[in-house]
């Protein structure tokens, strides 16, 4: 996994992986009785990459803009009250963003529709949100893939929030395939599941793979509260960085993150995939 450093717009061309990896970033949530723990320092953490202890730094996460990608279910089962609750929830989340944050909206029924790219033009996303017209089947996994790719395209801390009320009925991609992509991405994925989605273990597993988790709600009016909770929880996460030492350069790396303090729960992605960069003509070596 590579640390993506934003390049000035004038120089930004086709993104290429740099052979000069500078570090790995891990978003970590620490809670005690479900309340985020604040004030921890780098020395409070212990991180192992494939069992090898690593030297870590903490990035002050409150200063880092976040990229929020909303992946909303717009299938036929969300018709009526569920859609209006989703729209209101999305609107509330937008209101909770800071000026330097960015937000994108992707919807999915059988068709995945990237309706608004990552932007700080919140009004644009608001308009896109209010134009939702539910219909059709549900391609959640394809939608999550598109959301991850949207998050992946820009530097920064990325949060993908998937809101759905059902299970996948139409995606081409299978859960193991989206998992492979999630392992290679920086994005933390949260799920907010209503209706039949609450029993869908694939969504839960996928989110936990990225260090996020899935929240089950009883009624769609709870979307609003949970989206705001997710946003707040994401802002309270610690961003650990390290340059891998003593481990192979490529392949899957198992991560283990602990806090040197009892009674807390630590949530972080269980691993990442580091791939050798694809050789393209003209790329630097």
């Amino acid at each position: 996994m590579l640390w993506l450093v934003p390049a000035p717009a004038a120089q930004r061309q086709v993104p290429l992986f740099s052979a000069r990896a500078t570090g790995v970033r891990v978003d970590v949530l620490v809670t005690e009785r479900n309340v985020p723990v604040r004030g921890l320092m780098a020395a409070d953490f212990e991180l192992r990459d494939n069992g090898v202890s690593q030297e870590i730094d903490i990035v002050e996460s409150s200063d880092v803009p976040i990229n929020v990608v909303l992946a909303f279910d717009a299938s036929g089962s969300t018709e009526g009250r569920r859609t209006s609750d989703l729209v209101e929830a999305g609107s509330a989340l937008i209101a909770g963003l800071k000026p330097h944050d960015r937000i994108a909206l992707t919807t999915f029924n059988h068709a995945v529709a990237p309706r608004a790219p990552l932007t700080s033009d919140f009004a644009q996303v608001e308009r896109a949100l209010r134009s939702l017209e539910p219909s059709g089947q549900t391609a959640i996994l394809d939608g999550i893939h598109a959301a991850i790719m949207t998050a992946q395209a820009e530097a920064g801390r990325s949060l993908v929030i998937v809101c759905t009320d059902g299970r996948d009925t139409m995606s081409w991609l299978q859960v193991d395939e989206v998992s492979e992509v999630a392992k290679r991405s920086n994005a933390v994925i949260y799920g907010v599941a209503a209706g039949g989605a609450r029993q869908w273990s694939d969504l839960r597993d996928l989110t936990e793979l990225t260090g996020g988790h899935t929240i089950e709600i009883e009624k769609s009016s709870d979307f609003r509260e949970e989206l705001l909770r997710v946003l707040g929880e994401f802002r309270s996460r610690y961003v650990l960085t390290f340059t891998p030492q003593g481990v192979p350069a490529s392949g899957f790396h198992q991560l283990e993150v602990k806090v040197r303090r009892g009674g807390v729960r630590v949530r972080a992605r269980p691993g990442y995939v580091s791939s050798p960069p694809r050789r393209d003509p003209g790329s630097e070596q």
């Binding site: 036929g76 068709a111 529709a113 790719m149 081409w172 290679r184 791939s275």
Partner: protein, 458 residues
Amino acid sequence: MTRALLALGLVALAGAGGAAQEGSISPSTVEAIERWAGSVTSHVPGEPDPAVRAVWSLTLEGRKALHPGMALLLDAVAGKRVTSRSPLVRRIADIGVQLARSPGAAEFIKRAAVLHGDAAMLGFVPPLIRPIPPDVPPPPGRASLSRAAALDAPLLIDRQLWLENDGQVVGMTVADWNWVFARSLLDRLKPTGADPFVGQWYHATMAFMFQNRMFGEVQWHLEHAASVLPNDARILLDRGCAHEQQGLPRSQTVLSDDDMVALRMGRLGMPSRTRRSGSVGLTLGIQPVEISNRDAEGFFRRAVERDSRLFEARVRLARLLTLRSKYEEALGVITAAPAGTAPDAIAEYYAHLFAARAERALGRLDEAAGRIRLARELFPDAQSALMAASHIAMLRADEDGAEEPMRHLALLPYKRDPEDDPWWVYETFTGRYADVLIAEMWKDTGFSPRAPRLSSVR
């Protein structure tokens, strides 16, 4: 997108089953038989003519009026002697004898099957959703009963179908009795299944059912077709398709976790009026995915064995093999297809998509990417190919290759038709030539509107 699921055995017999008794033949029975026979002989295949409209107007009461005399009439058409002295019974028998002379026994039966098949197809409308009555057993996954004895009274079948939308059961609708009756008519052609028309009729009507997402109805249709034509490659393929459709996520999501546990544990709810006898069978709704796919795989294998040129059977078999991690075998099934047997671009597209998945699973990412490239050439805007391309590129650490398909996706309209992506119509794909097959079937009947009317029989 509302679909009709397999009925959960709400097969009710409206009235007495079995052969008619003499005492049940009334003057109204004779009149109903005369009208019906006249409809059969006057119907022009493919036309919503007065004959079809007469069938459409047949309520359950009308069918009850027909029922006592129907077996008698058809037996007489087939040449069975009637010894009864009842004038009403003899009248019906005489009608049957006349029909056996003109247009001929087999012709009459075929015309009758065409009439009722046409009534079903020409009268097909999107299902009217009815709320589920409180006394009806709960939705899919629960056991139900289908009485074998019901086949003795095909006119009186009263069947319900569950309707599903986006993975949730939304209500019920009434199944069309015309299909049951039409099948029972063709069963009278002896030797069973020998007449080429029977296969042609089943091929055309199965395609119609798949095309119109009649997944509940098609299961019964196929089971019956298979009993008549057990080695027909096309029927084997379609049986596989019906089972495969049940194994797709879009069907499996209808089953709740509780239903799945009940199915697997063998705990199946039975109506209190259940009685066990030799004639009572037990049918399930949607099977667990493993069983659906296993059964589908078996039918596809048999279809390929019967006809190695059936490209679609190969492609579908390959998909199921990849689900079982039989990747090399999946690729072999596709590559062994005789040259030039891919019937159309959609079938080729599926072949590339499924082959790409197998290649990817075997770690051959370059080959997988090549297959996806071919798929995208066939359908550049298909979401499935765009997703596959992006996914493969991510695995190859090709960042731009992963993002490009998503940029392409972002340029497409938000509202997209099911036909925009072949993957979205996978469950109906096998019915895509329904219109052609039906038109050919109608044309090949050779039925003339100048066939003698029943008025000359009186």
